[in-house]
Amino acid sequence: MKLRDTLTVYRKELRDALRDRRTLVSMFLVPAVIMPAIFFLFGAATYQVVKTAKAQPPVVAVLGGEESPSVRAALAAQPGLVVVPAPDDWRERIADKRLRAVVEIPARFDALLASHAPAEVTIYHYEGEFKSGFAVGELRRFFGDLRERALAERLVERSLPAGFARPFEIRTENAAPPEKVGGNTFGGFIPYLLILLSFTGVIYPAIDLMAGEKERGTLETLLCSPASRIDIVMGKFLLVLTVSLTTVACSLLSMTVSLIVGGIAMVGTGRMAATLAGEQGAATLPSLDPLGVVGVVVLVLPLAVLFAAVALTISLFARTQKEAQTYLAPMVAVVILPAVAGLLPGVELNSTLALVPVLNVTLACKELVSGEWPWAHLALIFGSTCVYATAALAGCVRMFGRESVLFRT
C-alpha cells in the first residue's frame, strides 16, 4: 500500500465531490438547512394547529337535564364551549366531527345534587380525535369545578373544614438534574438522527464512486494506472467517510444552533443563558451534557467507518447505479430499526446489547448525553464496532480485488 497513491485518489475524489451538486446537497444542505427547516416547520405547524384548535371553542350538545336549569345555564355560559341543543342524530354528528362531544345530564340533576344523592354525568366523544378530546377536557373541567363547589357547600353545611374531604395534597417535583432530563428526553433522538445521517450521508457518494464509475467506464480507466487496488479503494473509502462525517458535523452544528435559537425563542434569553451556564434557577429546562455529546461523536466514528465500508461494498457489487440504489435503499430500514429500538422504553444497555451494531451505539448515546459513563459497556461498544468496521473494510478491499465483480457489467 502506498500512502501517496491513496491520497492522490482521495484528493481527486474530494475535488470531484465538491463540484457535484448532489454530493453538496447531501453533505451540507440536507443536515444543515433542510433537516432543521423540516423540524422547525413541523413544530411551527403543530403549534399553529393546536393554537387554532384552542382558539375555536368546541361545539358540544347537552342531552337531558331539562329539570336542571342552573347547571344548563352555567354550561351555556362556559367561555371555552359552544353549547347547542342535542339533535336526534348526535352520534352520527360526533362521528362526522360536526359535534365534538355530547354531555348527558341525568334526570333531576339539580335535585339530586341538593339531596346529596349519587348522580352520573356521561360524556360521549370521538376517541383519539384531537378536537373531541379538547371538548372532553373542557367538559371535565366544568363538571370537576361543579363537583368541588358542591362539596365545599356540603362541608360548610356541616361546619366541617375544607381539608376534611381532602386530607392531603399530592405534588410532584423533578429531582433529576437538567442534563439527565435532557438525556432522557432527547438522548435517544439525537444519536438516532446522527446515526441516520451518517448512513444517508454515505449512500450517494458510495453509489457514485463504485457503481457509478463502473457504469460510466471511469473505473476501468483508473484500474489501468499503476496504483494498487487497495490504494484506489482506500482513497475512495476515505472520501465516503469524509462525506459521512461532514454530514454528521453539519447536523450537530445545526442542531446546536437550533437548540440555542429555539430555546431563546421559547423561554427567553435570560433563562436560556441561565440553562447554558448551568444555574440552579434553570433546572426545569432540559439540557444536554456537552462532554456526553463529544462521547456520542466518538462512538459514531467507527459506525461511520462501518457504514462507509458496507455501502461501498454493496455499490461495488452492483452492475449499475440503479441496481446499487435498489440494494442500498432497504439498508436505511436496517439501520433505522435498531436505532428506533434503542428509543423504546425499557430497552436498557447490557453486555449482550452492547454487541448489537447500531442499537449498542444508540443505547450508549442515551446514557452519555445524560451524563452517565458506563465505561465497561462503552469499551465493549467501541471495541465491537471497531471490529465490525475493520471486517467490513477488509471485505470491501477483498471485493475490490475480485475481477468478476469489477468487470461485472
Binding site: 501517496r4 497513491d5 492522490t8 485518489v9 481527486k12 475535488r15 470531484d16 463540484r19 457535484d20 460510466r216 467506464g217 471511469t218 476501468e220 480507466t221 483508473l222 484500474l223 489501468c224 494506472s225 499503476p226 496504483a227 494498487s228 475481477e403 468478476s404 469489477l406 468487470f407
Partner: protein
C-alpha cells in the same frame, strides 16, 4: 515488446459451465510495430488485452510486457503501458489539465514533470484551447484527445488500444489513426484490437485473427493474403472465422 504465451482465460457461467474466453493465444509484438488483433464482438479481443494490461489475471499461460511478467509484476507492467479503450471513460467534472495531472501522479510523476508533459501533450494534440475546461462540456473529439493525453502522460513504451475508434465520428477516428501511426514512428510497441477491416489495412504490420477465443491465423497482411488466396481482408476473415454468421 509484448510476448503472449499460451494465454488462457476461463469463466464460470451458470448455464454454459466453464467458458474459455481466451484459449491458448500466443503472439509477439515488437517495438516500433503495430500488431492488429482482428475479431468479431465476443471473440476474446478485450479479454486478451485486459490480461496484457493486468486488469484481469490469466487462468493459464502468461505474458511478458515491457520486460515484466503480467502475473508476477502487474504494477511494473501498468507503469509501462498506456491502455486506451472505448470503455475507458474520463471524469466529467475534472478539467483536461486535472485529468492529465491525476493520471500523471498515479504513474509516479512529480509536479514539475507533469507540467512539462501537459504542455508537450497539449501542443502535440492541439488542446490548449480547452485544457482548463471541464470534460463534461467537451465534444467527442476533445474527449478523445484528452483520453490520448491521459494514456501518454507517463510516456509508456507499450500501447494497448482496444477498439479505440468505437462510437467515434469520422474526424475523431482519423485522429486516433494518426496518433497510432505517430506512436509507431516513435518506436512504441502497439497492439490494436478492432473489428474494422479498413483500420487494420491502414495501420497494422502484423495481424492476428481471433475467433471463439482462439488465435486462428497470424501474419503480415501479405502473408495472410497469400495463405488464403484472397485480396480482401474481409474475405480472409470470413474464411478464417469459418463462414458467414448470418445465412
Amino acid at each position: 515488446m509484448i510476448e503472449a504465451r499460451h494465454l488462457l482465460k476461463t469463466f464460470r457461467d451458470r448455464k454454459r459451465g466453464e467458458v474459455r474466453a481466451v484459449d491458448n493465444v500466443s503472439f509477439v509484438c515488437e517495438p516500433g510495430r503495430i500488431y492488429g488483433l482482428l475479431g468479431a464482438n465476443g471473440a476474446g479481443k478485450t479479454t486478451t488485452l485486459r490480461m496484457l494490461a493486468t486488469l484481469i489475471a490469466p487462468s493459464g499461460g502468461g505474458a511478458v510486457v515491457a520486460g515484466f511478467d503480467v502475473t508476477t509484476h502487474p504494477a511494473e507492467v501498468r507503469a509501462r503501458v498506456g491502455f486506451l479503450a472505448a470503455s475507458t471513460a474520463l471524469y466529467g467534472r475534472l478539467t483536461a489539465r486535472e485529468t492529465i495531472a491525476y493520471f500523471g501522479r498515479l504513474n509516479g510523476l512529480d509536479d514539475a514533470r507533469i507540467a512539462v508533459r501537459t504542455a508537450q501533450l497539449a501542443e502535440e494534440l492541439a488542446m490548449e484551447d480547452f485544457l482548463d475546461r471541464r470534460v463534461d462540456t467537451f465534444s467527442t473529439g476533445m474527449k478523445q484527445k484528452t483520453s490520448i493525453a491521459r494514456t501518454l502522460v507517463h510516456d509508456p513504451e507499450v500501447l494497448i488500444l482496444d477498439e479505440p475508434t468505437l462510437g467515434l465520428d469520422v474526424m475523431a477516428a482519423r485522429g486516433i489513426v494518426r496518433f497510432v501511426r505517430e506512436c509507431r514512428a516513435r518506436g512504441k510497441t502497439v497492439i490494436y484490437s478492432t473489428h474494422i477491416m479498413s483500420e487494420v489495412e491502414k495501420l497494422c504490420d502484423r495481424v492476428g485473427i481471433i475467433h471463439g477465443g482462439q488465435l486462428l491465423a497470424e501474419g503480415t497482411l501479405a502473408e495472410l493474403r497469400q495463405q488464403y488466396g484472397e485480396e480482401d481482408l474481409e474475405e480472409i476473415f470470413v474464411k478464417v472465422a469459418g463462414g458467414e454468421a448470418i445465412a
